[in-house]
Amino acid sequence: MPVLEVNGLCKHYPGFTLDRVGFAVEAGRIMGFIGRNGAGKTTTLKSILHIVHPDAGEIRYFGLDFAAHERAVKPRIGYAGGAVDYYRKKKIRDIVDVTRRFYPNWDGAACRRYMDAFALDEEKTPQQLSEGMKVKLNLTLALSHRAELLLLDEPTSGLDPVSREELLDTFRFLRDRGVAILFSTHITSDLEHCADDITYIAGGRLIASEPLAGFLARSAAEGAGDTLQDIMVHYEKESLYDKLAE
């Protein structure tokens, strides 16, 4: 049973429509969620968390309809919109202490372990952390309540290569322990190092959702390119050179 199933997700905004997007994330797998800027990645992630309200579609976590079981589902998932961008002037100790009270499944020992592994100083405030450390703080909060599914919106954006590689290492560690990760990004090289599956959207429409190896092989056979970056460029690049020359 998938940990997350999305079917026929639609959300209309003036000038943009997310059109019948659907995919499934399995336990213990990393799904890369790709698309160029404005393709609808963040809208999709926000919709499947009810931060925005989809116009249509079905969202099921762990086999449960999200709308009907939001309270039961939320403790089992973690969301990180990249770096922590809330309570920038509050001490990490206070943010952690307030957060843990909401989660019946909070694991204090795990929290301590992640804080130590990530070298997070709880006397600091988020605004005193580098971008990479902010992402790690977000992950610590999500993992300390034993989230079985992590929804990450461009967590590697703005990170230096070493921090990105450390983060990808963390994702691989979590995957090996059964955590599923849905990881949106437009830095496609990150996914080639860690993703098992790929979901690709363009202009609010689903292009593909399948195992990464199969997607790469099929695209190469079609002459679209050998890497995710080549494939995205092949399908989506508009020739600005020609437009500017007109």
Binding site: R71, Y87, V98
Partner: protein
């Protein structure tokens, strides 16, 4: 709700919300429109909403394992907590003015409203206006602060002017007696204001929860 109030106090609230509780001391100032203390309490609370907005409190909160409406209820609960502490302080100082300090010359010759049950009733009406106009207005978008506060400010001004004017009407001078006169009707007005405060806050909260559930954040 304890966890939510804990979050409000430790992460979302501005220290100004607590500091402005000191505005209750204005109750003792002669020749000053004492009801403005309730406006200042509202001003302090507004800073907590502003602080929360800048700290992305809403995004953090809606991802917590609780119904989204609890976020709204927590905002009302925090506002009521501050308002009721301020009201308790104001009531204590009002009792002091009406008893031990009732003979003070500055209160006997005070041209403005003296503290009493009626001033407490108006204090509650100003808090009710804050909850309905400011908090209710804020949750139309979960973002707006300026216009909701302007509406509250205008309502508070109308209430202050009305309260300060009452004792100038013929036969109403007793409302300004430093030690209180004809307290029965004044306490009845206070009870009615308390009921109105509770009802208005409850209805505003219920409507805000419904609105918040449908907002795209």
């Amino acid at each position: 709700m304890i966890n939510w109030l804990n979050k409000e106090c430790r992460l979302a609230a501005s220290p100004l919300s607590w500091i402005m509780l000191a505005a209750a001391l204005l109750t003792l100032v002669p020749g000053y429109p004492i009801l403005l203390s309730a406006f200042f309490v509202g001003l302090g609370l507004m800073h907590s909403f502003q602080n929360a907005r800048e700290a992305n409190d809403v995004l953090y909160s809606v991802l917590l394992p609780a119904p989204k409406g609890d976020y709204v209820r927590a905002k009302y609960a925090f506002a009521c907590l501050i308002e009721l502490i301020a009201f308790a302080l104001t009531a204590a100082l009002t009792a002091l003015r009406m008893t031990a300090l009732a003979g003070a010359a500055v209160y006997r010759t005070n041209a403005l409203m003296n503290a009493g049950p009626l001033s407490l009733a108006f204090t509650l009406l100003i808090y009710a206006a804050f909850n309905v106009l400011f908090i209710g207005g804020h949750f139309r978008t979960a973002y707006a602060l300026g216009f909701p506060f302007l509406r509250f400010g205008l309502a508070a001004l109308v209430l202050v002017v009305a309260a300060e004017s009452l004792h100038f009407f013929p036969g109403m001078a007793y409302l300004n007696a430093p030690a209180g006169e004809r307290l029965g009707p004044q306490f009845a007005a206070l009870a009615a204001a308390a009921a109105l405060y509770a009802l208005a806050t409850f209805l505003s909260c219920r409507r805000s929860v419904r609105r918040f559930e449908t907002l795209d954040l």
